[in-house]
Symmetry: C2
Subunit: 413 residues, 2 copies
Amino acid sequence: MTKVQHPISNYQCVSCGTEYEIEPFRYQCDCGENLDYIYNYNLIKRSWSKQTLAENPDRSHWRYLPLLPVQNVPENRSLQVGGTPLISFPEIANEFQIANFYIKDDTRNPSGSLKDRASDIGIQHATELGEETIVAASTGNAAASLAALSAFYGKKAVIIAPASAPKAKLTQILQYGATLILVKGSYDDAFDLSKKVVEKYGWYSRSTGINPVLSEGKKTVALEIAEQLNWKVPDKVFVPVGDGCIIGGVYKGFYDLLQLGWTSRIPKIIAVQAEDSAAIVTALMHDRSIEPVKAKTIADSISVDMPRDGMKAIRAVRKSGGFGVTVTDDEILSAQKDLASSSGIFAEPAASATYAGFLIALNDGKVKKSDEIVILITGSGLKDIPAAQKKISIPDPITPDLDHFKEAIYFIS
Amino acid sequence: MTKVQHPISNYQCVSCGTEYEIEPFRYQCDCGENLDYIYNYNLIKRSWSKQTLAENPDRSHWRYLPLLPVQNVPENRSLQVGGTPLISFPEIANEFQIANFYIKDDTRNPSGSLKDRASDIGIQHATELGEETIVAASTGNAAASLAALSAFYGKKAVIIAPASAPKAKLTQILQYGATLILVKGSYDDAFDLSKKVVEKYGWYSRSTGINPVLSEGKKTVALEIAEQLNWKVPDKVFVPVGDGCIIGGVYKGFYDLLQLGWTSRIPKIIAVQAEDSAAIVTALMHDRSIEPVKAKTIADSISVDMPRDGMKAIRAVRKSGGFGVTVTDDEILSAQKDLASSSGIFAEPAASATYAGFLIALNDGKVKKSDEIVILITGSGLKDIPAAQKKISIPDPITPDLDHFKEAIYFIS
């Protein structure tokens, strides 16, 4: 009897290289490090081409099913995750004298962040494993996302988050009907507890840096960028980095496409971290292994002491020939305002960090005139209004008549 | 010489029926009431069909250009307004024993609300008239939307809003770099001032109920619903109503499609208002003209004393055979939570009102078993977190260990 070939050949540890059979599902390597999904690209190519993809009417990220670690598209339902716009800004490109400037606007996902990509694929994976309860540690976006998609698919979501998470994200989680456990401590404390909870209760884990499915979900953003640019990949992609899962996914997406022969190279991937939460960029700069930091930044989504997907992040930058950049909180908040007023896209601080990082790289001569740049906007500014209020001031109200109007408005002489 | 035929034949007053030539552009009828755009459907049909539309790769609402009151699609740029998902919820349909239940999720627009449709078309119209400064009175969403799209297109936006508008919306407006004038008073005071400002300074007005372009922009939501349902329109569409501009647009969209012969009927359109801001529904119920109220509701986006597009709203309901429903603030807030936890869609109070209205209509026997229902979700819950916090409570943080976890989580015995 011939064994049926599987589009995924096996798991491989990103650290020690150990390989594992694809079934049963496993979270991590015995060495404690994270796993990669290894695809059988030749097999995938036999039944999937740019042409068959172009003919697929599904605009969500489920159009990339052959490159996803699940068997099926969720039955009869989609909250339309992914399919977010890649928007060209010729004026910004002109201003900075570069070839092209694009924003991938992932604030347009159902819960307002890129994390919906991982939650959507993760929940389908849980369903295929017969799991009904899903637990996640998160600084906020992943939790809000898991809560939203769990509400949609009728799953139970248990969220463990630091008490300091922005109120908007906590409100989202509770509105979606998830069970919320706040911990006294940091994201790292929440993460450690979630790991123990998964071990004790056997629930499905949607925690970054444990579950290899999640970076596979996040990679769909790279698949979309490439397809939206008609398979001509950009030169540099700026990615906000906390745990390292998104950037690991971005690399994996471009890597997959190169293996399929659909693209000719992988773009340089640039890791942007907040100055005081920069474990990964520090390791990159000093060419050493990752050491924990005591994270402190207004960009809560990338505030991480010990990155849980650090190896994938380092690999993404090194293998793509990219680099790391750090940005201060003040640079992040200024970039948020500049970005919103020049593009019409209102990004949360962590997402705005990519624009701040782009400006610094430009200043440092690390962006070329011929460059086509993409910055990833991973979360909506509406998720943290108190942060966004730091660089603006709400004016005093006036009596509603023309005289007071004339006084109040500054550009009429 | 033959006169070139224009796809728009003329303007017509919704009240006295007076017709005006299509050029020059005019805001209102000499009688003070609002105008409709009258299209030459036979001319449009000559060069536009369901087939040519299906072949248009543009997923934004610009795909409906032949039915829009502008000459061209904005050159080389789109912030991707419209193209929002229409999501089917078989479980909700099952629960309430109706044929189908759909949510049109317009929170997925660039600034998080349906208003982006009107701003996008309005700004293009201003551009075609050579106008650079655009002024709007708004309770928040229209303002945030105008600010976002003006940032994108490089226009000057001047916003006049009541000081009571939610902080998130004011923050958005300022982040996008618009000029914000807050007035001591209500939306109606802001509206009156905006009218005087337009008269005095000659700027383009994006105020609802003055400018007939805006309901034409908003109608694209109806065009999308029909196309997404493959031109088989639903039975009932629930629409939140403040000024009446959205519901007027929804009717106009379905009306246009019927005239083109692309659909066979207009769905019944149901106006949902907050109990203490119900000028339009009150007029409908007592079959009399609209009288101003003293509006008071948590649903700021539909808090209106005197509806500025009241005539179009009344027409939408009457001509479609629909009806009006009022909902209390408590019903709105409960519906917000129910909707989020059963659908994964987090809506602001005004948008949640449609779900509350649907539940009431169902209870009153006004929804049939055979009904295919669409509710419009017009704005994101992230825009008013304080309101969304009224029906939830953020739990106290715990010490991050398994014992405290077990104590905190309620469904583990």
